[in-house]
């Protein structure tokens, strides 16, 4: 069960027309692709995707890119919108999303249920976690990642004993409980849960009947189970295989920009090029990327990209691009200069235009000679500018 209803308020205006899992990332992907690829690479091919908020873009992406499961082999990916089958509320929390879909579980009655969030970027083999769950004869296993304790105010923190049995949970604590033997490290809740189905159903029903509950797995279900049931934490084993474990909640514009710029660095923290861990997405049939013009006279006119991700269908026509991510179909016209920017599908940069430290959403046309990221006051008057000065130009913006 993948919870894909995240609003992503702090990613606005990228989430103006789409849910957080549908936000484009890395040129050709959407955030949801990483979780779904994890499922596929883990051999999990029975997937329910629970959506509720601005889901059109997400639905379309799933239909186009993930319609690959074979019903004859009992595989499926179901897109389940909030249906108000149970009452007139939207999902009140993560646990309520499951409660409202108990009837879905009734159909298949699996022994185990894996609950995931569609909001995060990471590589994980869920099968290892499920094996751990069975080995420990757990009722619930929670995926955790070790973090420095200074980050506790942004995280749900689990308290464990030496055997990683869960003793408690605190949401965003000031003074967190650290890992036994590691006074600087905490265990952060990744929002990844393996549940015995019967236990899950009983606990979400109990929770639904509690009028004081916020209906959240971290805040309510884990504390209610602690001390009564067998709860274990499972330390995230990263398939990304770098020194530090990579798991990102790309929840803010700053985090989004930083994670994107990581991808264009020489040795990125997050490796998209591992043939053992392919990441699937919808990729429309597009011609190869192309660069044109190499002229020194009468004026320097060179179509060139440096340190960038260039998707198919782009034409770099006489302009220069530095440290940027270009989604399919981007056009860079002559004498234009783009640096440290994210250009989504079919963005068009006019002649002599300059774009620096900007995120430009799908289809926006930057007129000839236009400047973005050059004059901070002008940008602030017209566009969303993040705390560190990243300019965001939303979909549908018309510039003259």
């Amino acid at each position: 069960m993948i919870l894909a209803g995240g609003k992503g308020e702090r990613l606005y205006p990228l989430t103006q027309d789409r849910a957080k899992p549908a936000v484009p990332f890395g040129g050709i992907y959407r955030i949801i692709d990483f979780t779904l690829s994890n499922c596929l690479n883990s051999g999990i091919r029975r997937v329910n995707l629970l959506t509720q908020y601005k889901s059109l873009s997400l639905n379309r992406h799933i239909m186009q890119g993930w319609n690959i499961f074979n019903a004859e082999l009992d595989e499926f990916i179901n897109l389940i919108p909030a249906q108000q089958r149970v009452g007139e509320d939207w999902y009140l929390g993560t646990a309520d999303a499951i409660y409202q879909n108990i009837y879905v579980l009734q159909i298949d009655r699996p022994d185990l249920i894996l609950i995931l969030s569609g909001d995060h970027v990471y590589k994980m083999n869920y099968t290892d976690m499920i094996e751990h769950h069975l080995q420990k004869k757990a009722d619930l296993t929670v995926g955790v990642i070790e973090m420095n304790k200074s980050l506790s105010r942004q995280l749900g923190v689990l308290q464990v004993d030496e055997e990683f049995r869960i003793l408690g949970f605190e949401e965003k604590p000031e003074v967190p409980k650290t890992i036994p033997g590691y006074p600087d490290l905490i265990l952060a809740n990744m929002g990844i849960y393996v549940f015995n189905t019967e236990m899950l159903v009983r606990r979400v029903i109990e929770d639904a009947k509690d009028p004081n509950s916020q209906h959240d797995f971290g805040r309510n279900i884990i504390p209610a189970m602690t001390g009564n049931d067998r709860l274990f934490a499972y330390s995230f084993q990263d398939e990304n295989k770098k020194t530090a474990k990579y798991w990102r909640d790309i929840g803010t514009l700053e985090a989004y920009f930083e994670a994107s710029m990581d991808l264009v660095s020489i040795d990125p923290l997050f490796n998209l090029y591992d043939p053992d861990w392919p990441i699937r997405t919808y990729y429309p049939p597009t011609p190869p990327a192309k660069t044109v013009f190499y002229e020194a006279q009468p004026q320097k006119r060179v179509g060139c990209t440096y340190n960038s991700l260039i998707s198919a269908g782009c034409i770099i026509s006489g302009g220069e691009v530095f440290r940027s991510i270009l989604s399919p179909g981007v056009r860079i016209h002559s004498y234009a200069e783009v640096s440290d920017s994210i250009l989504m599908d079919s963005v068009d940069i006019g002649r002599h235009a300059r774009v620096r430290r900007a995120i430009i959403d799908k289809g926006v046309k930057i007129p000839e000679g236009y400047q973005i990221g050059v004059n901070p006051e002008e940008d602030a008057a017209k566009f969303t500018v993040s705390a560190s000065g990243i300019v965001v130009i939303p979909k549908g913006t018309i510039l003259a």
Binding site: Q84, R85, V86, G87, E88, D89, I102, Y103, L105, Q106, E198, V201, R202, I205, A208, K209, P211
Partner: protein, 120 residues
């Protein structure tokens, strides 16, 4: 006076519930299927619901789910001749189960229990 809503498609059983539960001091409201039960629930706001499962028009599972959507705290006692429903997690939102019988001792006991818990 506390109100009990009894839902069953067997009219003779409904009469029995009405007689016996009125004698216990409850106000008894009757409904012959899930749909009627939902309408009566809205109108009468009973403190407890006794619900059969196999009924025409709308069965007890659907009625239970819908009722809990309107008021998640309302106690529903499932009253069924089929014990397998205890294993069906669509019905786990119910407060209690009673195997259907013309001897109402157990049902009366459960109603008292459920109402007692509710008062606490």
């Amino acid at each position: 006076m506390e109100k009990v809503l009894c839902v069953d498609d067997d009219l003779s059983l409904l009469r029995l519930y009405e007689d016996e539960l009125t004698e216990e001091g409850y106000e008894v409201i009757l409904a012959k299927d899930g749909k009627e039960a939902l309408a009566k629930f809205e109108k009468e706001t009973p403190q407890v619901v006794v619900m059969d499962i196999r009924m025409p028009v709308m069965d007890g599972i659907e009625a239970l789910t819908t009722l809990l959507g309107k008021d998640r705290q309302v106690p529903v006692i499932l009253n069924t001749a089929y014990p397998q429903y205890k294993e069906n997690f669509m019905t786990w939102g119910a407060e209690a189960y009673v195997v259907k019988s013309s001897d109402l001792t157990e049902l009366k006991q459960k109603i008292r229990e459920v109402l007692g818990k509710r008062k606490k």
